[in-house]
Symmetry: C2
Subunit: 324 residues, 2 copies
């Protein structure tokens, strides 16, 4: 690959200036890149600048990279102009398969050879989108979360025709650009985070459809409950702590039978010894040497920090409720 | 009911001194109550005091109520002694149905008339547990999250024989005692928060069982992604923001078809107009007058606050990774 190394990228092209595309523009500007954007909508330049203006105070709070400036944004008149000198392209067009197929073929034709082109799609595997491009090997998915300038996660996945080098390049680049990357070794529908939040969301929709809970009860049950832990400790490690000093192994041995309970509309997998062992080993890997006592202390401090940061210490409660 | 009003409670009895029971003891001590505990295990008193000692620095950070003190804990020698002067009883025994049925009957016999007795169970409906008690009307579920001294949520639900007055009393009492309460009008298996987190958890187990994701990827996908938002804004309002200025209505109209996608193993409900309208109306109720722009600003500030509180601003990232 002749593209510049991930650490030497200075110029990024963002295609599409909606909520996600504009969010990417704001993120890359804040991280000190020159950004060229293009969107076919007539009002796109003004809308994009408004979005960047609106995000800039937040990005300033987060800490701007050296030299970062809003005026390092150029809005190009054509797709070809936008891509001509790109060192990385992020595509965030509407979620329509045919549109994505054609657009990616156009981007491939307009972008210097070997420069990686990533799609923000949450819905389509790259294998289905890269069918019309002459150079499909440098096309991949870089799936962000909204807003891309605040939520660190990016899920990277190639399609059947994507090269491993392009996937490795993109994963390294996103890390350099301040994102948290999960590089997937297969095209899983919904990737990882969306599969998890979609399962929760579908159960929530069922509950509302059946009059079992209101929207507000559903939201409150998360923000006042497990959501406080998930901001800094994932569902697996969190559940490992329910096993006391025995961790995930004890938790599964003790609470495993509850997988048979009708606690959700999603059927649980068979908790055989292979799955049990995989969960235990996975938690040990994720704990990376931290003991259960370490993790408990970390969880407790994390919850306190999050409660304080979001104005929910006991003393702050009355004011916050009054103010919201 | 002749029990003292919720605001006048000064003495609480906690039955069971494991992780959950001990967590309740710590919470009630920190909120300034006299707490009497009982657990049949021989080492229970020492274990309980260690748990309270371990939690106390966290509780001090959260802010102790006036007069709160660890030495306001009494460990009783018998169940009868523990309950004789109780103004509220929280039962946190192991999750075994027969044990719970018998224990609740014993607690009912030992506790002054009309004093509410709440079970911490996450697994059993009160209707199934209250069968052996002479006075089942004051028995109900008060389901906490771990650790009860840090996570605010308590789900309150009565059984078929529970009085509405007991449910209302418990809901008010928990609020006075510093918890966030959801009062359920039916016995839904898993209540609300556990149904939601269990759907996510089951999808996670399927993914590990099928080699689709590792434990660490699952945990990272939440803590670096949607988990950051869920600490202060629930999944429904968060998704409403994906609809731009059109909110939940636009989001469902636009992304509704993705409910047909195989993004999780949980089948989605039919998105008919009744469900659509219920979601839109529910989000409007939850927004309580805040516009989409207000909510976006609140979400952005919340994410920044949570990132800062958990040491994940860009500048802090390197140190945190090195330290963990």
């Amino acid at each position: 690959m002749t593209a510049v190394p991930p650490r030497e990228v200075t110029r990024i092209t963002c295609i599409g200036a909606g909520v996600i595309g504009g969010g990417w523009v704001a993120h890359f500007l804040a991280r000190g890149y020159d950004v060229t954007a293009w969107d076919p909508a007539p009002q796109a330049p003004e809308k994009l600048r408004r979005l960047v203006d609106a995000a800039w105070p937040a990005l300033t709070q987060l800490g701007l990279a050296e030299g970062a400036a809003k005026d390092r944004l150029t809005v190009a008149a054509t797709l070809e102009e936008a891509c001509a000198e790109a060192q990385f392209v992020q595509e965030s067009a509407p979620e329509k398969l045919e549109l994505k197929q054609q657009l990616l073929a156009q981007l491939d034709a307009a972008t210097p050879r070997d420069v990686v082109i990533a799609s923000s799609t949450s819905g389509y595997p790259m294998t289905d989108m890269q069918t019309q491009a002459a150079g499909p090997d440098r096309l991949l998915v870089g799936h962000p979360f909204n807003p891309p300038y605040l939520i660190p996660l990016v899920e990277v996945a190639g399609g059947d025709l994507t090269s491993e080098r392009a996937v490795a390049w993109a994963s390294e680049f996103y890390e350099v650009a301040g994102k948290s990357v999960i590089t997937m070794n297969r095209e899983l529908p919904g990737f990882i985070a969306n599969r998890l939040q979609e399962a929760l969301w579908r159960e929530a929709l069922h509950m509302v459809a059946n009059g079992e809970a209101t929207v507000k009860e559903i939201d409150d049950s998360i923000t006042e409950g497990p959501g406080l832990r998930w901001a800094f400790m994932g569902p697996c490690l969190t559940f490992a702590l329910a096993g006391g000093e025995g961790g995930m192994g004890h938790m599964l041995d003790h609470f495993g039978p509850s997988l048979k309970s009708p606690w959700t509309r999603l059927e649980a997998p068979e908790l055989d010894s292979a799955l049990r062992d995989a969960m235990v080993a996975g938690c040990e890997e994720a704990a990376a040497g931290r003991t259960i006592a370490d993790l408990v202390a970390e969880r407790d401090q994390g919850v306190i920090d999050v409660l304080r940061a979001t104005g929910r210490l006991p003393g702050a409660k009355a004011e916050r409720k009054a103010g919201s």
